[in-house]
Amino acid sequence: MEVTKPIAEDLFTETGDGPRIVGSRCGTCHTVVFPKATSCPRCGNDEMDEHLLAPRGTLFTFTTQGFLPKEPYTGPETEEDFTGYALGYVELPGEVMVETRITEADVSRLAIGMEMELVIVPFRTEPDGTQVTTFAFQPVGSDS
């Protein structure tokens, strides 16, 4: 059986209704932040509750990464096989715009305002064979 582990604890979780990314919500001004935080950047309050973010939203903006990132990037690619990836901000209404990997790397198939949904995808494989997973967003209706 394939062993997987998330790229970081407390970043995302599985629920009965599918995966969710984990943020915090301020107990005073109700501002939502991502990832989990101990104080509120809006009002300065230090009482924050865990908050599961909405799994669907719209694409606020995007770009592509056309060159292999240097450290601290730990993706699996090398200069020889790097083909680029896309990333952007997905707006989760009333919550936050979350910066995320986008599964579709062809910019002609991405458009600002399009519907996006959360998925958990493989990121890289550890030397012992453990697959490291991360959150990403994909255009709604595309094959996962």
Partner: protein
């Protein structure tokens, strides 16, 4: 503000094997002192900035006050400034405030840096971010610029051709500047067809890290004529950080409520303090980390309205002979970005233009009001207004 710039000095921007960052800084200071006709022992205080050592653990000193070992141990008050890409702008703002306070009459503000190829390997923890953020490949400043301009193009109808035109202009201006690093013009086609680094931005739309230094001598305005027949007056200098909802670099999330950039606040404060309207500006230098930044900073500073850039740039208004010449020395795109020096290069260029001494790239209409703006991580902006 009653502060005058009475001496300006620059060390060319580029790569200088075997010369330390401190030596670059010292050369710029000596040039500024010579321009003001004074000696280092005449200087009462200094503010200096350099960032090299704080990024990717460069070994070389980035402590600007070490310049005294090159210039003379006169015992003066020398303050180090460390304020992202707004470092040099901040030295000038702090220097001017010290003169305004009445504490001193005459000081030096200097910025320098020496970044190796491929510098700026930011670590997430240095910015208070979790490790996974870097793991996943988000710790890359160029992505931020690309995502910000992509949304701006969508909202305000800016074309890819306009992005190319900005870079072509800056390379062309740089070719006329003997102190610029990149002195070869590129066509708009070459710029559009160069490698796509971060959509919609191609390789030739970006600036690169390099080396350089610039310095100014400032004094109480009523003493300016003791040092020069062509004083340039610093009418204002303001520095602001980000507000709730602003869209900044290295942000795992943004608020869904949109706020404005720190440049909007810094520019407003600067114009207000100077008693000058953006429409009065005859020559401007704005942060062009890439083409899109120049486009967006033109509206964030109030020099035009959102969306006006398309017609303005296509119509050649930001060219040296245009209505509002922008980045007349080639900007960051042609000069590269030694972070600590960048804002002072802008002030140097603006002073040169206002003096009418900019040679082949002189703005022809006898400019009297200049404006500068720098923007940097994690959301800090510094602007100045200079006049004859």
């Amino acid at each position: 503000m009653n502060v005058a710039i009475v001496g300006i000095g620059i060390h060319p921007f580029g790569r200088f094997e075997g010369v330390t960052g401190l030596e670059l800084g010292a050369k710029a200071v000596r040039a500024a002192l010579g321009d003001a006709g004074i000696e280092w022992p005449d200087v009462q205080f200094a503010f200096g900035g350099s960032l090299a050592g704080s990024l990717s653990g460069a070994e070389e000193s980035s402590q600007a006050d070490q310049l005294v070992a090159h210039l003379g141990l006169t015992g003066i008050q020398f303050t180090n400034v460390h304020n992202g890409c707004a470092t040099a702008g901040s030295t000038l703002a702090m220097g001017a405030a010290l003169i305004e306070s009445g504490a001193y009459d005459l000081g030096v503000c200097v910025g320098f840096d020496k970044h190796p190829r491929g510098h700026f390997n930011a670590k997430p923890e240095q910015s208070g971010l979790p490790h996974w953020y870097g793991d996943l490949g988000f710790m890359i400043t160029t992505q931020f610029f690309a995502m910000k301009i992509n949304r701006y193009m969508h909202d305000f109808g800016i074309s890819h051709e306009t992005l190319a035109k900005v870079a072509a202009k800056n390379f062309r201006n740089g070719a006329k500047n003997p102190n610029a690093w990149r002195r070869k013009p590129f066509s708009e086609e070459e710029i559009l067809e160069s490698r796509m680094l971060n959509y919609p931005l191609t390789q030739y739309m970006f600036c690169s890290p390099d080396e350089g230094a610039a310095a100014v001598v400032i004094c109480r305005a009523d003493r300016a004529r003791e040092f020069t027949s062509k004083p340039i007056y610093l009418r204002s200098a303001a520095l602001r950080t980000r507000q709730w909802g602003s869209f900044e670099v290295f942000a795992p999330w943004l608020s869904t409520e949109r706020g404005h950039s720190p440049t909007v606040d810094a520019a407003r404060a600067t114009f207000e303090q100077a008693g000058v309207e953006p429409s009065d500006v005859d020559v401007a230098q704005v942060q062009d980390s890439e083409s899109g930044a120049e486009v967006m900073h033109l509206s964030e500073t109030g020099l035009c309205a959102d969306g006006e850039q398309e017609a303005m740039i296509q119509g050649g208004e930001t060219e040296i002979g245009g209505r509002l010449p922008v980045n007349t020395d080639g900007g960051l795109i042609a000069n590269g970005e030694p972070i600590g020096a960048s804002g002072m290069r802008q002030v140097y260029e603006t002073a040169l233009q206002l003096r009418g001494e900019a040679g082949d790239r002189q703005v022809p209409s006898n400019p009297k009001v200049g404006f500068t703006q720098v923007y940097g991580a994690p959301g800090v902006s510094c602007c100045t207004v200079l006049t004859t």
